[in-house]
């Protein structure tokens, strides 16, 4: 189906001058961020030793090389991979949600998907220590990510049930109900914080602030297919999201199955957010900031915006995680602090810009 025939602006034409630059620049930037991340860490591996430590050069004489290889391959590389993929997932889910809500400020955290996941994770932390949870204790390490994922999905399903009636889904009600669900989940987290002991309290707090500490090969291996499938699925709704900008009725008359589009988008966003939350806890603002920045640079066409968001999200998250694990070494800075510290000022700038555009 020709896009032009639908009377919709051809996405390619919305490429701003920065478009080609971004398309070439983002992969290069990602490679740079990964290289920097590879060389930085509590166990120092300078750029010169990197080829040997990666096992790429023949020079294996250095006694440090064996240790470097272990540190790199069993700790640092899985963590960098997980950071990049989590960043991609968060940014893409933000982009899809903004397209769906036709609102540049939408974010999975805003509609309570992250809060629901965090509440379930906090409950897992508190109740695996209690009499109720003792029977589940043997699987505590698996339980926490599973609970976070289940909490995110359950939140979305509740929201969807509330917002749907007679086969139609009201995005406005979805958004408002999301705010209420987020408030309820936060109250639940408050209650859990109240009953938690000192150690659980620290665990909950660190979970709420997000961290990629503990990202291992199995977690990176879980993320990879999720990201791949989600990206492909998101691209399949890209055109629908482009048309939806005109309004639901107009999109429907342009031949888009609007209800199906909404369902698929909501499932995708909650699955992507749930997986990201289950790996690293709650990390805010990546989902808001990344798509918005890109929309300014390359325009709103989702076919380009979604993969570009994945790349820029990966770059930001890799960079933030590199800072998180080096600036206070041997301790760790929760990554949520860094993304919020970078993201919140952007959010304000976006708001101020919108105020300017609205002529206020």
């Amino acid at each position: 189906m020709s896009v032009v025939a639908d009377g919709v602006r051809r996405p390619a034409r919305s490429l701003r001058p920065a478009g080609p630059l971004i398309v070439i620049g983002l992969p290069i930037l990602l490679a740079g961020a990964v290289t920097v991340a590879l060389t930085m860490g509590a166990a120092g591996i300078p750029l010169g030793r990197l080829p040997a430590a990666l096992g790429l050069s023949a020079d294996q004489a250095d006694p440090l090389t064996a240790r470097d290889q272990l540190v790199l391959w069993s700790i640092r590389i899985p963590r960098i991979a997980a950071a990049a993929m989590v960043g991609g997932l968060l940014a893409v889910s933000g982009a899809v949600m903004q397209g769906l809500f036709r609102n540049p400020l939408a974010d999975p955290a805003l509609v309570g998907v992250s809060s629901g996941g965090a509440f379930a994770a906090a409950a897992a932390i508190v109740f695996t220590d209690s009499r109720i949870g003792n029977s589940l204790y043997f699987m505590q390490n698996e339980l926490l990510p599973l609970a976070a994922f289940a909490g995110s999905l359950a939140t979305t399903m509740i929201l969807y049930a509330i917002a749907s009636r007679a086969g139609r889904t009201s995005i406005a009600i979805f958004l408002l109900a999301g705010l209420a669900i987020a408030a309820i989940a936060n109250a639940g987290i408050g209650l859990l914080v109240f009953v938690a002991d000192d150690r659980q309290l620290r665990d909950i707090t660190f979970w709420l602030l997000g961290s990629l500490s503990g990202a291992t090969w199995p977690k990176a291996a879980t993320l990879a297919p999720v990201l791949a499938v989600a990206l492909v699925a998101c691209l399949s709704v890209a055109r629908g999201l482009d048309v939806l900008v005109l309004g639901e009725a107009e999109a429907f008359h342009s031949g888009v199955n609007v209800e199906r589009l909404k369902r698929i988008s909501i499932v995708l966003v909650s699955a992507m957010t749930g997986v990201a939350v289950s790996v690293c806890g709650v990390v805010g603002f990546v989902g808001i900031v990344v798509p918005h920045l890109l929309r300014l640079a390359i325009g709103p066409a989702h076919r380009l915006l979604l993969p570009a968001s994945a790349l820029l999200g990966a770059i930001l998250m890799t960079g933030a995680d590199t800072l998180a694990r080096t600036i206070v070494a041997p301790a760790e800075m929760p990554i949520g602090i860094l993304t919020a510290a970078i993201g919140a000022p952007f959010f304000l700038i976006i708001l101020l810009r919108q105020r300017g555009l609205a002529g206020l």
């Binding site: 166990a43 540190v71 069993s74 003792n134 002991d197 500490s213 503990g214 041997p330 301790a331």
Partner: protein, 314 residues
């Protein structure tokens, strides 16, 4: 409001005046002199304080304890519980009609402490310093507040003698090991004890090094920093089911690269015993030392804990 502000200092002075007449004044963690009339009904907040009160034979005077008072077991069974020491409710404490509140430094929240202060109940915040001297000072302060300095001196003397024996035992350690205390291991994230923690002090009392000296308090430690810290032993607390398990530590990608995992060196001890900084601390440090250095067992066998054998209850 204004009346309250004017009245409170007057009331405080009046209360202090009465107490000084009764003869007991103690200096607390807030750098204040607290006057105590009659230490007949005491609310003990903090596991170490409850332990000391029991060791001094004052269990009958305990009107209530907090939820960290896990030893002796009778404390939690027999006494009303005012909840967690950091989440006190002023009303809950005052409802027990205490004539004295002995609380560990760090008890809170601040508002509850302020209300207790305003209620004219003498409230002594006992300083928490994780050191040998801090432990002896804690015992003496509790004893003084109870008007029982001789009993406190008896207990402090026994603890000091245990600490001296421990020092001698430590002197025989040829090669101190590096110990990492793991508070929790959750979803692969390791929370370890840095400086200025009870864990840090108990490790050095046992003649070992804390492998993490790059930060204060309990924090999430970077995985690579674990490898760089090269712990010989991982220490944790065993509290029923929520303990960190040896297998989880050995399987962790960072610990797997340390001597602790290759030697399968994992020790867990009961939480309040290990970290409580009460009368049993010297015994706990000795237990830990024996686990870290089994070669010391012959020397340790000849020693007897003065604290566990002495009776300072009268």
């Amino acid at each position: 409001m204004t009346i309250c502000r004017r009245l409170l200092p007057l009331l405080a002075i009046a209360a202090a005046g009465v107490a000084q007449a009764a003869g007991i004044t103690v200096h607390d963690a807030r750098d204040r002199d607290i006057g105590i009339d009659n230490p007949a009904r005491v609310v003990a907040i903090g596991g170490a304080i409850t332990e000391i009160l029991y060791a001094l034979g004052f269990e009958d005077r305990i009107a209530g304890v907090d939820s960290t008072s896990l030893y002796p077991e009778a404390a939690l069974h027999d006494k009303p519980n005012v909840g967690y020491m950091r989440q006190l409710s002023a009303e809950g404490v005052l409802g027990l009609n205490p004539s004295l509140v002995l609380a560990m430094q760090g008890s809170g929240p601040k508002e509850a402490i302020e209300v207790l202060d305003a209620a004219r109940t003498p409230l002594v915040l006992v300083p928490e310093t994780f050191s040998e001297q801090g432990l002896l000072d804690k015992i003496r302060l509790v004893g003084r507040a109870m008007g029982a300095e001789p009993r406190a001196e008896c207990l402090a003397g026994a603890v000091a003698s245990d600490l001296a024996q421990l020092r001698e035992l430590r002197g025989r350690v040829a090669k101190p090991v590096r110990v990492m205390f793991v508070m929790s291991l959750l979803n692969g994230r390791v929370m370890a004890a840095g400086r200025n923690t009870a864990a840090n002090e108990i490790i050095s009392l046992a003649g070992a090094f804390n492998a993490i000296d790059g930060y204060d308090g309990y924090k999430i430690v970077n995985d690579e920093a674990i490898v760089a810290a090269r712990p010989d032993v991982v220490l944790s607390i065993a509290r029923g089911q929520d303990s960190v398990e040896a297998e989880a530590v050995y399987a962790h990608p960072a610990f797997a690269l340390t001597p602790a995992a290759s030697n399968k060196a994992f020790i867990s001890m009961e939480g309040l015993y290990l970290l409580g900084f009460g009368p049993r601390t010297a015994a706990a440090a000795r237990d830990l030392a024996l686990k870290l250095y089994p070669a010391l067992a012959p020397q340790a066998a000849t020693l007897a804990s003065a604290t566990l054998n002495v009776d300072c209850r009268r």
